[in-house]
């Protein structure tokens, strides 16, 4: 059993599908059946059109670095600095952004526009979607 580092997400009715998929090694996001738009992170209704008719949809899990920062102070207990926070624009839809860390692989010399792919970090009873640079 791996050590828990940092807080463990508490799934709720709107997010359980997301964490269940992640536990199975898949990145799934809610897609609105009314307007066909994906959104992240999961909300109980579509932020674009307000519909509550959402279906969990597996996404590619690839994208580009939209932005990043290296945190040098501890702001969440257990998440030990320095660590890289990233905003990734997923390939599935323009403007579809996810926040995570660069978990493994290189962190030196990274830049906006770098290709990334999803990876999963065991955390408590769930697996946390993270990203790594693809070179």
């Amino acid at each position: 059993m791996s050590a828990v580092v940092g807080p463990v997400p508490l799934p709720d009715a709107a997010s359980a599908g997301y964490w269940d998929a992640a536990a199975a090694g898949m990145l799934c996001l809610p897609r609105c059946t009314a307007c066909a738009r994906l959104h992240a992170p999961p909300l109980p209704l579509c932020p674009e059109c307000g519909s509550e008719e959402l279906v969990w949809t597996a996404v590619l899990g690839t994208g580009v670095l939209h932005s990043f920062t290296v945190m040098h102070r501890e702001v969440v207990a257990g998440v030990t600095p320095p660590y890289v926070l990233v905003v990734v624009e997923l390939d599935d839809q323009p403007g579809l952004m996810m926040s995570a860390n660069l978990s493994d692989g290189p962190t030196d010399g990274i830049g906006i526009g770098d290709r990334v792919e999803v990876t999963f970090e065991p955390r408590g009873g769930v697996r946390l979607p993270q990203f790594r640079i693809v070179r």
Binding site: F68, T69, V79
Partner: protein, 378 residues
């Protein structure tokens, strides 16, 4: 101004404690000191106060939330200040909603003379910025597990992208910080009232959330500010003058700041925009329409925000210079500028002021004006 505006309310008194890193006194005493100063400034006593708006919440993530120690509720303040005639009293939660709440209560006739009190401390209860729950639900379940939390990480992410798209650099952040710190030298309340920051100090400071360093983050402090507000018609009896509240509107994330209550950019002579993290300044200026997207850095570099520039900004040093009072310091300075009581910081020709309280995700836009001719000019 292109048409007459009717003021919503007036600020007839303002009081403040010094803004300090820490102080062992109970926070309740800070609230009392600021409130007494505001009442004295307005020429009134506690027996004249029939309305109260507070924002008690301690922003420290590890706050003990103890009334009078790190928070001040209306019940606590009313007891210590002997506010025995309150007809209207609320504690608000949304940052910066004091003005709207107070103006609404005054104009609805629920009270006539109202005290606004904001006392806060970041230094009680442990590390102010450390979230320590072992499990996390709600919206934070997608942020906290990644260490996405306090200390401006979101704003560092925003500015990194801004650098990429528009060619901005840390020099641009330094210009904001340096101007704030220089202006704070003329603010007797400011935590940084006796020391500016050199370019070398700034450039060699270790990063916190790169490209931001500690100078890009306002200092967590302890302090209190209080205002006395009345209906607009009662403003003329204020012994030290009044600032008129002309407009007050909420602004969600991304919404243009202007116009607000009919006020356009051309109607505004100066601005006090919340600068908890230095990149906020560029975001506000672009949302005001002062500069096109990506060009606010140039506006600042060209002196656009200097006291003698086209839009004097944060003339008291902002929270980067004064400390993190979460916007009520900005409101206090706007009141002083409009009343002509800003001392060495006083602008000569400023008749209107935009005050922005809150973060770019959730804020209030308040327009203040000098009393008298400015508010009814055609």
């Amino acid at each position: 101004m292109s048409r007459p505006f009717r003021p919503l309310a007036a600020v007839t008194g303002v009081g403040s404690t010094a803004v300090v890193r820490d102080d062992p006194r109970p926070l309740g005493l800070f609230a009392v000191e600021a409130a007494r100063a505001a009442m004295a400034d307005a020429g009134i006593g506690p027996e004249d106060v029939d309305g109260y708006v507070g924002e008690p919440e301690a922003p420290n993530r590890a706050a003990p939330h103890q009334d009078g120690y790190d928070e001040v509720s209306v019940a606590y303040a009313a007891r210590l200040l002997r506010l025995d005639r309150l007809a209207f009293a609320v504690d608000v939660k949304t940052v910066g909603s004091w003005v709207a709440t107070a103006a609404a209560a005054l104009s609805a006739g629920l009270c006539r003379t109202l005290l606004v009190v904001r006392a806060l401390t970041f230094t009680r209860g442990g590390a102010y910025n450390l979230a320590s729950a072992p499990t996390i639900g709600g919206a934070e379940q997608f942020a906290a597990p990644y260490g996405l939390g306090a200390l401006g990480a979101r704003h560092a992410l925003w500015f990194r992208r801004y650098m990429h798209e528009h060619g901005a650099t840390r020099e641009d952040l330094y210009r904001v910080v340096q101007r704030s710190r220089d202006l704070a030298l003329a603010n007797p309340y400011a935590v940084w009232r006796d020391r500016s920051v050199t370019r070398d100090e700034y450039m060699s400071a270790p990063p916190i959330a790169d490209p931001m360093c500690r100078f890009d983050c306002d200092m967590p402090v302890t302090g209190a500010v209080a205002l006395v507000m009345t209906r607009a018609e009662a403003a003329s009896s204020a012994p030290n003058g009044a600032a008129m509240i002309m407009a007050c509107e909420f602004r969600p994330a991304g919404a243009p700041l202007l116009p607000v209550g009919g006020f356009e950019l051309a109607d505004l002579d100066c601005a006090q925009l919340y600068d908890g993290f230095s990149p906020f300044v560029f975001r506000w200026l672009e949302r005001m329409g002062v500069a096109p997207d990506g060009q606010a850095t140039r506006f600042v570099a060209d002196g656009g925000t200097a006291p003698d520039g086209p839009l004097p900004l944060n003339t008291f040093g902002g929270s980067l210079g004064e400390g993190r009072l979460r916007g009520i310091g900005h409101l206090r300075e706007g009141v002083h500028q409009m009343r002509g009581t800003a001392g060495p910081r006083q602008l000569d020709h400023a008749r209107t002021c935009l005050v922005q309280v809150g973060t770019p995700d959730s804020s209030w836009s308040v327009v203040l004006a000098r009393s008298g001719e400015a508010v009814t000019a055609p």
